[in-house]
């Protein structure tokens, strides 16, 4: 029955995700968006790279899945989509995968405005390999390779992708389920390149190193950091501080702000 998330889960699969992992939530939120759109999941293709986030579709989703190489998901997806435009193609991968090793593919797909929906699962670290710094790690954050706190500036991924020409760009956190689900629906329905950055915290690799000892604490910490775009309007840079602004940054032909 379309509309039921359970129907879209691959039977018999034991999830590899840690207890309390936010990616467990995201598995269901992506499927809920698909269910709400009443899409026949057999018409979809899910492509992912390498990392924890890349395991969201493969093997959880009971659909065609292509689990590729680290950083290359978008390039693989491009070939499949161009050859068979009927495939509703979604890429789900991590911040390291899409923005570091795969960064070039990301901006070029945005430039071409290839009809893909890319979900960038941002836990702000390399979760799978032990919590090293990623291009999305905020400054000052402790990781296994920034033992004195991160000194490099992170990418604003939404700005980057919007500037490269993406049709639809948005950022939400797993803690904002309903705007996130609507956003994923919009992304799927947009013809052209859609990019949705999802803040999906990792309490094991990110939390523990930054004095957030449990999954709940980590989620709460990020919930406190996320501001909707209109809430952020008019705030001074000092007031904004290290807040994460969520919302839509490019929609259809709108210019990125």
């Amino acid at each position: 029955m379309a509309g039921d998330v359970e129907e879209y889960l691959r039977p018999g699969v034991k999830t590899p995700f840690c207890p309390g992992c936010a990616d467990r939530i995201l598995v269901r939120l992506i499927l809920r968006a698909i269910a709400e759109l009443k899409i026949d999941i057999d018409k979809m293709l899910f492509v992912s790279g390498i990392g924890c986030a890349a395991w969201i579709p493969s093997p959880h989703f009971n659909a065609d899945t292509l689990h590729t190489l680290h950083g290359r998901a978008i390039a693989f997806a491009t070939g499949a989509k161009l050859f068979n435009p009927e495939l509703i193609t979604m890429v789900v991968s991590g911040d390291g995968d899409l923005a570091a090793i795969g960064g070039n593919h990301l901006i070029h797909a945005a430039r071409r405005n290839t009809d893909l929906t890319v979900i960038c699962v941002n836990n702000m670290v390399y979760g799978m390999t032990g919590g090293q710094v990623s291009p999305a790690t905020p400054m000052g954050i402790f990781t296994s390779t920034t033992v004195e706190g991160n000194r490099e500036r992170p990418f604003d991924l939404c700005k980057l992708v919007a500037a490269a020409g993406a049709e639809y760009v948005a950022r939400y956190s797993v803690g904002q389920p309903s705007p996130l689900v609507s956003s994923i629906k919009k992304g799927i329905e947009t013809s052209g390149f859609s990019f949705i950055e999802v803040i999906s915290p990792c309490h094991i690799q990110f939390g523990r190193r930054n004095r957030l000892d449990t999954a709940a604490e980590t989620l709460k910490f990020f919930a406190g950091k996320c501001l909707m775009k209109d809430e952020a309007e008019g705030l001074s840079p000092e007031e904004l501080g290290d807040k994460i602004i969520t919302g839509e940054f490019s929609n259809g032909r709108d210019q990125a702000d």
Partner: protein, 379 residues
């Protein structure tokens, strides 16, 4: 069987094509309808030819942002049901290695044309080389099977590209056309027959897409057919389910990947024998060098010298049985190569016969007079 006869894409007749153009036409004839590429000398003419011709035959062409992306997109297209290929040269071939390993692991039929130029690194972009032989076999991590073919003429660029697609589809394996600049840029007469035989990947609804059949080659469904495929470069069971710590799964998969090529090698390997029957000195050569060698061998035969030649058409899997047999008959084996002895070393694995390598890496082809001179000293 999934063999069938089809009409050639080009009207039958004689054409005057470059090797690169012939490879592009061979691909089209074989049914290739997806090409992702990135410009590099001396292979770019293949991409440019495809860009024009795909508009006529209805294929999907895209110039990607680099060679990693090119090959990745080709693999994605292959799973979407396409016969897909890319072409490149040295530096780009290096970037494609991770994709080659992935295609081998996921048993994805793809064709890569490598127009070898003088290396290493950027080397001499317009000059000839033959240094990618071992890279084609061992370039990606973890020990995997590939098929590599070495064409010596424009005709073979056409015929062997068709063959490359047939082998890729038949064995679900990456196939590399290891050509050289001297063949890619050579113009020659190319004969197009009315009909060609092509093999299309076997399909079987519901069958395990990574299970292997009698011959170790499983059927291959495409995305969008409702098979709910799990395709992964991680180790996996017969249905593609990731099994990243199970020794049995790992052992079975790697053995099958290897065996589906090695156990079928008699069917895969092609070579040609020129005067080798009663020869004391046998030249083993491939690609352009085999033409120089044959020219030299025929001259010497006319003088009554007992020389012969084996031309390797298939490089990988290597012709081990043939090499053993040649080694048991010949007094000496002469191996001229445009590298530092890559195939000579391979030959030494299979025979104790006296092997004399000749290695030229100056960006020029090995001339028949050079080979003649070397052979005279051996006779």
């Amino acid at each position: 069987m999934a063999w069938k006869e089809v009409r050639s894409a080009l009207p039958p007749g004689n054409y005057y094509y470059s090797g690169n153009e012939a490879a592009a036409e061979g691909a089209i004839a074989a049914g290739c309808r997806y090409y992702g590429g990135y410009p590099i000398t001396p292979s770019s003419e293949i991409m440019e030819w495809i860009a024009v011709r795909f508009r006529e035959v209805g294929g999907v062409f895209i110039q990607m942002e680099d060679e990693i992306a090119s090959l990745s997109s080709v693999i994605g297209a292959s799973w979407a049901g396409a016969k897909a290929m890319t072409a490149t040269s040295g530096p780009g071939f290096s970037l494609m290695q991770e994709g080659i390993g992935y295609a081998a692991m996921t048993e994805t039929p793809i064709v890569i044309v490598d127009i070898q130029r003088a290396g290493p690194a950027t080397g001499q972009a317009t000059r000839v080389g033959g240094g990618d032989i071992m890279q084609a076999k061992w370039g990606s991590q973890g020990d995997y099977p590939v098929i590599a073919i070495s064409p010596w003429s424009v005709q073979e660029m056409y015929d062997q590209t068709i063959n490359a697609f047939n082998l890729a589809e038949r064995y679900r394996v990456p196939v590399i056309l290891l050509a050289e600049q001297a063949v890619g840029h050579l113009r020659e007469r190319m004969d197009v027959r009315e009909k060609i035989a092509i093999f299309n990947r076997r399909k079987e609804k519901g069958a395990a897409p990574f299970g292997g059949g009698d011959d170790g080659v499983p059927p291959m469904p495409a995305f969008g057919e409702g098979e709910k495929l799990l395709v992964t470069g991680s180790s996996h069971d017969d249905y593609g389910l990731r099994k990243v710590a199970d020794p049995l799964v790992q052992a079975r998969l790697t053995a099958r990947l290897h065996n589906k090529i090695v156990n079928n090698r008699e069917e895969i390997i092609e070579y040609e024998d020129y005067y080798a029957e009663d020869a004391d000195v046998i030249v083993i050569a491939y690609g352009f060098t085999a033409r120089s060698s044959l020219f030299a061998v025929e001259r010497l035969r006319r003088e009554g010298k007992k020389v012969g030649m084996i031309k390797l058409k298939t490089i990988w899997p290597f012709a081990d049985t043939l090499t053993r047999d040649v080694g048991s008959r010949a007094k000496k084996i002469f191996v001229p190569e445009m590298n530092r002895g890559q195939i000579a070393g391979e030959i030494m694995k299979y025979t104790c016969c006296d092997i004399i390598p000749y290695n030229q890496t100056d960006g020029e082809i090995i001339h028949p007079t050079t080979i003649m001179g070397e052979l005279r000293r051996l006779l």
